[in-house]
């Protein structure tokens, strides 16, 4: 079972690295969708050990995750890309190699942190959960910081979410409620609000460039 988890985590890490280097929006959307697939299957590993009532919840969680992360998100973002202005690129504000380099440093940081924070469950203590989760978080933050369009920031946010989710989902057995909360976060934030706002931005600004949304500030022009 640990192998399955580690396999998923390796997948997450690799996908994140690819995400850092991706140039096309639609490509990025696909990458986070694959991440969603991996995460959606994660609660199912080791489900046999759980009691029946929990099993039902775990199936539900898995299903919800797959629906939201693998279905709803990619669908929404594709729609935005299709209907929006012509920008199809991610528009990084730093060069992609630099972003990748930073990503590798972040990966090292994530592994360093995982040495400091050791999981209590001896079964999971030597898995890649913590480094993969932290790396997901760092990647997400890095994407938000270095991308210029609103949509690619949303993608970054989803990557961040996925990282957090990865940490949480292994505890689905201990505290399934929290995972459900995490899904709630996804649904609310990503779907209703960000989606709606990005639509508005698309309509009102004729661009999705958050770099140009700097009218509200205190620094001298």
């Amino acid at each position: 079972m640990n192998e399955l988890i580690d396999f998923s985590m390796m997948g997450l890490i690799l996908l994140n690295l690819v995400l850092l280097g991706a140039t096309r929006l639609i490509h990025s959307v696909r990458l986070v969708a694959i991440q969603g697939l991996l995460l959606g299957l994660l609660p199912l590993w080791g489900i046999a050990d759980a009691e029946t009532s929990l099993q039902v919840r775990l199936y539900a969680i898995s299903l919800a995750t797959l629906t939201v992360k693998c279905g709803l998100f990619p669908w929404m973002m594709r729609r935005i890309i299709r209907e929006g202005p012509t920008h199809r690129e991610v528009k990084p504000s730093i060069a992609l190699p630099t972003a990748l380099l930073t990503g590798i440093i972040a990966l090292a940081l994530a592994f360093w942190i995982s040495h400091k924070l050791i999981l209590p469950n001896p079964r999971l203590a030597d898995t890649l959960i913590i480094p993969a989760g932290f790396f997901g978080i760092f990647t997400g933050l890095l994407l938000i910081v270095t991308r210029r369009t609103a949509l690619s920031q949303v993608i970054g946010y989803v990557a961040l979410e996925n990282g957090i989710y990865a940490v949480g989902v292994v505890f689905a057995h201990d505290a399934p409620l929290l995972i459900e909360l995490g899904i709630l976060l996804d649904v609310f934030v990503a779907v209703f609000v960000m989606g709606v706002t990005v639509f508005h931005i698309n309509r009102d600004f004729d661009h999705m460039d958050t770099d140009r949304m700097t009218e509200l500030r205190d620094s001298p022009p």
């Binding site: 961040l160 929290l178 609310f188 706002t197």
Partner: protein, 499 residues
């Protein structure tokens, strides 16, 4: 009881969405606020029993912030009544700064979201479960986002986007903090389900893993601190406060920041139960002082008076975090400070709305002679400024005094000195703006418009309430503060340190 408190505004909010008549909808808004206020009063009178397995209960700080939110909301609802009437006079509005035309969000969305907003704030105050608390705080963000872009133009959209993105990142980190807390707890509760309900946490924290607890606390502080407006996570705050309609800014500054503070308070409580208070205190002190510093920097030569109020909120949130970090006697001061700040700041934002409506500019450089042009609002603006900068006889003076006293008593002379210098810089910055606006001859070319009762009465009532709270000090309030302070210092005695 608590469920009723949460559901009443929620249902009325739904009602507001479906109603056809604008006038009726406004009445629903005021009605919802009034019912909520009444119920809250009832809750203070007769403490309600816990509900939903103890997940919903009102302890002292919760009741305190609930009462604050409810009061502010009532004032804002009355203000909104007049505000919406003026706003609905014309379908399109001219932008005050750039002159382009824009339209408003449908009033149904605005009123409905306002009531949802109240409902979520109530949920924050009443939740006794960290997960639920997290959901509730997230829900306040979602409910308030449409309120910020009531005026549909690019600036408010920009503000909303920043608000959403920054707060969402923060709230996601807070979720991770909750996960870490579960991990920290599962070290000694292996196998059994981990509960994040406060009642369970209080008993289960003894053998918790310190490393994970610290990490959890760090993430919670960052996450809720983003919502509360602690520097350097405060960045959304000036934008959102300056672009939203003034009554929304009043609620954001007065109620939302305080409820986010409740999140940090709960986290600190948990941290204290886990024996890691000594880790938490420096974190809070550093974030608190840094917030005051940042506020001082941006207040010093600020010209936008709504941004000024926003940065002042950053300053006061900093002071509250600092007080919480100092602990001991400062805790009571922090709660007192929160009350004063909420009432005063909300009043100031409402007055700022009046000024904006009259002058049509947010730049203080172009506003003069308010005392003559808007005698009531001008006077309230000046008085509110005195109140918010902690001049007696307003309550902020006492709360600052108590917090600073705690600092000096703990030997943190340098901290107290630096804080005083920063506060003096803040004062300098705000004086410049406020005096510039209030004084001077009124522009004879502009007609003096009579002020509406619904726009003057709410801020006046809030300021008077702030004054009343400071000097009359009603018994229930006193009990609430004392009980809140005892959460951290069981031996706390009111008046024990200030004879």
């Amino acid at each position: 009881m608590i469920t009723a408190l949460i559901l009443t505004p929620f249902c009325l909010g739904l009602l507001a969405f479906v109603l056809r008549s604008d006038l009726l909808r406004r009445w629903v808004l005021v009605l919802g606020a009034a019912i909520h206020l009444l119920l809250t009063g009832l809750c203070i009178w007769i403490p309600p029993s816990p509900e939903a397995h103890g997940w919903l209960a009102l302890d002292a700080p919760g009741t305190l912030f609930l009462a604050l939110s409810s009061t502010l909301f009532f004032a804002a609802a009355i203000y909104a009544f007049g505000y919406l009437r003026v706003e609905s006079d014309s379908a399109q509005h001219q932008d005050l700064e750039d002159g382009f035309l824009f339209d408003n969000e449908p009033e149904a969305v605005f009123c409905g979201c306002l009531l949802f907003f109240l409902s979520t704030m109530t949920l924050v105050a009443a939740s006794r479960h960290l997960g639920l608390l997290w959901v509730a705080i997230e829900a306040t963000t979602l409910a308030s986002a449409p309120l910020i872009c009531f005026h549909r133009h690019h600036r408010s959209l920009e503000a909303t986007w920043k608000y959403l993105l920054v707060c969402s990142v923060g709230i996601a980190l807070a979720l991770l903090g909750n996960f870490f807390l579960v991990i920290a707890l599962s070290f000694h509760t292996a196998g059994s389900h981990v509960s994040l309900a406060m009642a369970d946490l209080q008993n289960n924290m003894s053998g918790v893993n310190p490393a994970w607890l610290k990490a959890a606390y760090g993430f919670l502080v960052i996450g809720y601190g983003t919502k509360m407006g602690l520097a350097p996570m405060h960045t959304w705050l000036p934008d959102a406060h300056s672009e939203s309609p003034s009554l929304v800014s009043a609620l954001l500054s007065g109620a939302v920041l305080s409820t986010a503070f409740l999140g940090i308070l709960r986290a600190t409580q948990v941290c204290a139960w886990g024996g890691q208070l000594e880790f938490a205190r420096p974190v809070l002190i550093v974030f608190g002082s840094f917030s005051v510093l940042v506020a001082a920097v941006f207040l010093f030569s600020q010209s936008d008076y709504k941004r000024m109020l926003a940065y002042s909120s950053v300053e006061h949130m900093g002071i509250m975090a600092l007080g919480l970090g100092l602990g001991g006697t400062a805790i009571a001061g922090v709660f007192f400070h929160a009350i004063n700040h909420s009432l005063t700041k909300a009043a100031l934002f409402l007055v700022a709305g009046n000024i904006l409506a009259c002058t049509g500019t947010k730049s203080s450089n172009q506003v003069h002679g308010l005392l003559q042009r808007l005698p009531f609002s001008g006077t309230l603006w000046l008085l509110g400024f005195f109140a918010i900068t902690g001049l007696p006889p307003f309550g902020m003076f006492f709360s600052k005094l108590i917090i600073l006293k705690a600092a000096v008593d703990q030997g943190a002379l340098v901290l107290a000195g630096v804080l005083l210098i920063l506060l003096a810089i803040v004062f300098m910055g705000m004086t410049t703006i406020v005096l510039r606006m209030c004084l001077g001859p009124a522009d004879p070319n502009r007609p003096i418009t009579p002020e509406r009762l619904s726009s003057v009465l709410p801020p006046l009532a809030l300021l008077l309430l702030a004054l009343l709270v400071a000097w009359v000090w009603p018994e229930p309030l006193r009990n609430l503060i004392v009980e809140s302070a005892r959460l951290f210092d069981p031996q706390f005695l009111p008046g024990g340190h200030l004879p």
